[in-house]
Each structure stands twice: as C-alpha cells, then as structure tokens.
Amino acid sequence: MPPQPHPIPHARPALWLGAAALLLAMTGCRRHESHAAAHTPTRGGTLVYATDREPICLDPHVQGDMPQVFLAQQYLDSLVAMDGAGHILPWLATDWTVSDDGRTYLFHLRHDVTFTDGTPFTAEAVRANLDHMVDPHTQSSTAGGYIRQYAGTDVIDAYTAAVHLKTPYAAFLEVLAQGFLGIESPRALARPRDENCQNPVGSGPFRIVRWDHQSQIVLERNPAYRWGPPTALHTGPARLDRIEWRIIPEPSVRFAALQAGEVDVIDSLPPEAETPARRNPDLWLLLADRPGNPTNGTLNTRRAPFDDIRVREAFLRSADIDGALASVFFHHYRRAGGPLSPTTPFYSPAFEHHADYDPDRARALLDQAGWTGRTAQGIRTRGGHPLVVHIPVKASLSAAERTLWEQVQATARATGFDVRLENGDDTTVQEREGQWDYDVRIGYWNTNTADVLRIIFSSAFLGAAGVAGHHQNEAGFSDPAFDRVVDDALLTTDPDRRRALYLQAQTIAARNFLQVTTYPQSTRLALSRAVHDVRLEPSLNVTSLYDSWVTR
C-alpha cells in the first residue's frame, strides 16, 4: 500500500491516540472519541453517510428493523427523550403525569411544532401515531410490539393527550423515547401504507426529499426546526444543508469508500476494518454498545435435545466464543455472557461468566444426561439417536458472525455435538423459525429497557406477537415464576424494586441456560476528521446528525 499523504505532525498524536484508543478498548470504556472540535461549528454543506442495509420502508412503525430507526432519527422527533444515564426528559411532550393505577399517561405537548408538510403537531397527532403503530394493517413488529398494552388516546384539548393502557407498563416512557416510536405527520399517515413508506413526513431536523432505491436516500435541512431534543449540543435548525444516506452493503467496499473520501461517515464498521481505521490518522471512531439482549443463539427448549437443561448447559460450555472474538472479531468486541447487554438499565454483571467455555464439564453433563454412545464419527448418541443440533442460518448473516458459528460448530463437535448450520434465504429461515423448526436461533434484541427479558422469555410471547411477526420467545421458555417477576416489574416505577425484580429475572434466565450469548450489539461508526459532532442518541445509540457539521 502506498503511503498516505498526510502532514507529518499528525502522525504522532495519531499514534498516541491509537495507543489511547487501545487502552480504552482494553479497559472496556464504551466510547472512544479521539476527536476534539478544533473550530467553531459551521453551517451548510453536505454529509455523505454510508450504511449497510437499506430500510425496507422509511416509516419505522412498519415492521421495525434497525436500518429504519437509524434513518428515522434524522427526520422524526419523539414524545420524550432519554439521556445517557437513562433519565426520561421532555421533548415533544413538555411534561406528563401518570395516574395512580399506572394506566393513564397525561401528556402536555409543545405548542410550536409543525411537521414538514405544514401540519401542526397536536394531541390528534399523538393519537394518530399510537393508533397507527398498533393497527394490524401497519404490520408493525417493533413499535406495535412494544405497546401491546395500548388501549387508546383521548384528546383532552389541542395540546393535551391522555394515553390509556390496558395494564400498567413501567417501561412505557422508555420505549416512547426510541426512534421506532417517532411521531409522524398524521396527514401523511393517512395515506396508504406503501405510499407513506416511500416518503414519510416528520417534524425532525431533516426531511426526506428523495429515495433512489438501492443507492441513496437524500435528506435536506428543515429550516423551521426549533424543537431539538434536550440531549442535543445546540438549538435551532440543523447545521448541515443536506445528507446523502448511501446504501453500500459490502463491508469492505463501505470502508474503502470512507478511506477514499467518497463518503464521510460509515456505520456497521466491520471488525476486520477496525484496526486499519484506528491507525488511519484521517479517521475517528464512535463506538457504543447497544442496550438489550446481546447477540446470541437461543436454544429451543420445546424439543429434544435442548428440552434437557443438562444438554443446554453442555452446549453453552462447548462453545468457545472467546476464540471467535479473538480471531474473526480481532479482539474488538467484548464478550457478553449474561442475558442483558451491559448498557441496559438494571443490568447485573453477576452473570457474565455463568456459562464459560468448559468442555470437561460439558462432557460430564452429557454423560449424566444419557448421551453416552458414540457414532463412528465421534458424535454422541442416546438410544441410537445422534446428538444433532439444527441451526438455520440466514443468507444475510454477516461473515464474522457466520464464522463465529462455524467455530462453535467445530468446538461443540469436540464434545460430541453434530451441529448443522443450514443455509437458507431469509424468508425460508423465518418460516422455519415461525414453526419452531430449529434447535438454535441466531438473533439479538435491541431495546433500552430490561423489559426485553419479558419479551424474549415470558410465556406471554410464546404465541404470535400481538400485531405482527411470529413468536418472540424463541427459547419456548415457560416458567410461571419468571412470568410473575417480569410482570411485577412493570407495575412499579420504584427503581430499587425494579432493580431487585430484574436481578431475579436475570438469575432465572441464566440458570436455565437459554442462550449462547456472544457479544453486545453495538453501533460502530468510522468518520472522516472533516466531520464533527456526530452524536449517538442515547436510547438505542443510534446516529444523530442534527448537531453535525463538516469542514471542507
């Protein structure tokens, strides 16, 4: 590789920063901002942002996948905001009261907000949005799934809305802070779903002007914007004139485009590019773990062999996750050992090592469970049946994660598991998952509340999800004691009580060996040094370009 032209004085601080970055990474600091704003912010200019996946619909209420919320954060505002410490702050709602039974939220709204189509923001808009999320026709998996308790909204006056829930829901404000539940123009929402998908309308700092499918989405500044979130660094309209949101699915190509100066920011920085990115003095990184349930393989407890807790523990202890993190993830990803990612509220570190790699213990457990026979290939058998683990693998799974599971396949084979990684296109795999036709299901769940445990492990989520999607309790786990704990946690807003209950929930989940947890989901941005003040919105650590500016 030819030397990169850059002034010599840069080299040393870069080296120093690189070392500091390494130190920070080693000490597990969640954010690495080797970037100091040298100038005062300037207005104008275009920022080119490159991402890996194209949203299937720009309205985050529909279905609800991560690429949608990343874009939504640029053009939508939320009723409330969340800060880094997990506190809920006013945003479009100036203040609110919760009824004593925890079932009615009275929101007082800002008076000065208009959507970019000219529609004023009123209590009617709040009702239209919440109704839209739970409308089956919207096909909302995420937003709709989060507010299954929603009963309806009463418009008290133009700027006061009373939201009624069927049951108390302590995490309600937390999920409202997520971009998935962003507030759209009611006039735009009234259009057919597929039309709204193409050009939804919000009140945010930018508005969508064009969607060039499979190529880019263009956003322009909303000049009237005066209602930024309290977590922002400035007030008033956004500093950038324009955002070009490019879709570059190939990870190596995306990073090369950044290095070549074709784009200013990339997200989903692949692990193999992280070391070169840290060494490159023209780049800086913005990394943060996302809260929720970490990246994992969930064991299907509803059929053999994982209906036996000993076999589940044996499988967890046969999987050498650290080996994978050291090879294909280049030590850049930290291990997540428990059911919650460390950045989730009420996370307890007590479960990080509850099922570490221990092949000897795995063998002993399999002996106990009666898997004592061996086939000619060394696969364990019981009653003549080989110990086979079926794992459907989506075509869209990243190379790094695919490799991780190939390594699990190899290490689990050493203790006698025949792990079958079964390739399929995403639709076929989803169909199999819907029919419980798997032993391990590869997935994750990003959310800013410990209530995620209820979604992924409580028996209420064994059936098809309320409004869309299929069962979200992929483990098929059903335990009345666990259900009681996570339900109780929704009834109280007392932080100490919630902490105690979620500790119990984590304990039960960990003791049942329901998941091979691997690493926390994370937002990983690499940015050109010409880009300043890119922020991660704290509720899901999603990129926010509201404060950003560029120097050319």
């Binding site: 190939e250 190596s252 090879s327 294909v328 990243s398 599971w405 190939e406 396949q409 190899a410 290490t411």
Partner: protein, 288 residues
C-alpha cells in the same frame, strides 16, 4: 454468471489452430492439472496432511508461509487443505451438472432433429425459453422444491446450462441428418433406428466428448457463482465458491482467502478447455 451460457458459443466454433508457442506444453500441463484434481477429489489425503475442518482461531488470517502455503482463513484453517478437499465437491457438481445438461440436450436435439417440422420449431423455441429464464430463479425453484444441498444445485446448473448445449447438439444433428452418408443409408433401405444408432449418434456426438470436457470447467464456475450467492454447500464443507464468497469480506486484509480458491476455479476451467481442444484435434485427426 453467464460464463456458462456463453460457453457453447465458444465451443460451437472451437479453435482448430495449433498454437506454436504453446505447442504440446499447454495440453500436457492441462492434463497434469486434471490428473492432480482427480487425485485431490478421490484421495485428498495423499496431497495434504492438514485437516480442512480443524479450526485454530488464534492462527487466523496468516499470510502464505512454509507452514501454510496458501495461508489460513478466518478460523485459522489451512487454505491449501481446503482447496484440495474442495475439489471433490466441485468436480462432483461439475460432472453431475454437465451429465444432466448433455442428457437434456441429447434428447431435445434428437426429438427436434428427427421429429419433423413442428418438433424442430418447438425445440428452437424451447431453447429460446431456456435462454431467457434467469438461472438464479431456476436455482430458487430447485432449492424450494428439492431442499438445499448438492442435488438441487446440480439440477439448477444442469437445466440452466442445457440451452447452450441443446443449441449446439441440435445444430450437429441437423447437419448430420442432411449429410450425404445418411441419405445413402436411407437409400440402402436401413431403418430409422439403425440410422440413428449407426450414423447420427456417433457423428453428432463425437464433438460431445470435447464439449463435456470443456463443460465440466464451465459448470464448476457456475456452481462457484451460485455458492457465491449463498446457495452452495453448508459449512464447514470446503467448497471453492463458498470459500471465495467468504473471503471477499476480508479481501483488504487477507487477499489469499479469495485468490487461491479462485485460482483453483480458473485453472480447472482453463485446463478443461485446453484438454478439450487437444481431444478435439485428436478426434478430428481420424475424423469421419
């Protein structure tokens, strides 16, 4: 992806010229490589002692060296061993697909060539239809109905590449049908079956030996292309297309992960082409 659908056009008018610079060196090298491939497919352990499936995460991404001549992959597996062990799957796929393809071509060509005017036009249209239908969709159809694995892949590639071969064999059958010696046989009162068996088949299908040889290389490329798109062999099997596809994510850090499996594909393709041409010269030497 179309290398294959183009291939018949190439084999349709194969080069008859002996290249002085290459002389017999090219064919010799080609046959040597094919022999090596055969050994790799039948007895891979003769060529390498390394285990193609053994992972060593701490030895991941090692550049080519004496210990690992082709380097190691993202799980620390030896790429040379994986390329060698991958020969079996690739050749099985290539052989299976070309057999199926030529089988379809033969039947269609005979029906079209000897079945009268309507059949002839029908086969022409069928060729057009097959050419116009994207093989990716065909592959989807096969995996959807037959499940994933090697058989659907063989069917998809076999049927997908049948159009080109049908076109070629069909042309041969037509020219033989109208040739003087067949007329003569007819004049002598020989029955149609005998004419097909004695005259048309041998003369129309002698070039097929050549085509089949070249076609194996083409189908290997094809199967690599489909594996590249995620329709290939399940892990941890070593398969050239899958290896190459995995390697492309790491191309900036570990070029050898993509380069060597690709080289195996290219060399297979080249040596089958060169060997096919050598065979052709040999056959034409004693021509009809």
């Amino acid at each position: 992806m179309t290398t294959l659908s183009l291939a018949p056009s190439m084999t349709r008018q194969p080069s008859r010229r002996l290249r002085p610079a290459l002389g017999h060196l090219g064919p010799a090298a080609a046959f040597l490589f094919l022999a090596l491939l055969a050994v790799a497919a039948l007895a891979p352990h003769l060529l390498t002692h390394a285990d193609p499936l053994a992972i060593a995460p701490r030895d991941a991404f090692h550049a080519p060296s004496a210990a690992h001549p082709f380097g190691t992959d993202q799980s620390g597996r030896d790429i040379l061993a994986r390329v060698i062990h991958g020969a079996r799957q690739s050749l099985a796929l290539g052989g299976g697909a070309i057999t199926l393809s030529l089988g379809i071509a033969t039947i269609l060509a005979l029906v079209g060539g000897l079945g009268g005017r309507i059949a002839e036009q029908g086969v022409r249209w069928l060729i057009d239809i097959l050419f116009a239908f994207p093989v990716l969709v065909l592959a989807l159809l096969c995996t959807a109905t037959l499940g994933s694995g090697i058989v659907p892949l063989i069917v998809a590639i076999g049927v997908g590449s049948a159009a080109g071969y049908t076109r070629m064999v069909f042309g041969q059958v037509l020219s033989v049908r109208d040739a003087g010696y067949v007329e003569a046989a007819r004049a002598l009162g020989h029955g149609p079956l005998r004419i097909v068996a004695r005259h048309i088949l041998p003369n129309a299908f002698r070039p097929l030996v050549v085509t089949a040889t070249m076609g194996v290389g083409q189908t290997v490329v094809w199967s690599a292309a489909l594996s590249f798109l995620g329709l290939g062999a399940p892990p941890p099997a070593a398969e050239w297309g899958t290896m190459l596809s995995m390697g492309r994510d790491f191309i900036a850090e570990a070029w050898w992960m993509t380069f060597f499996p690709g080289l195996a594909i290219v060399l297979t393709m080249l040596s089958t082409t060169i060997a096919g041409r050598a065979l052709q010269r040999a056959i034409e030497g004693r021509g009809p």
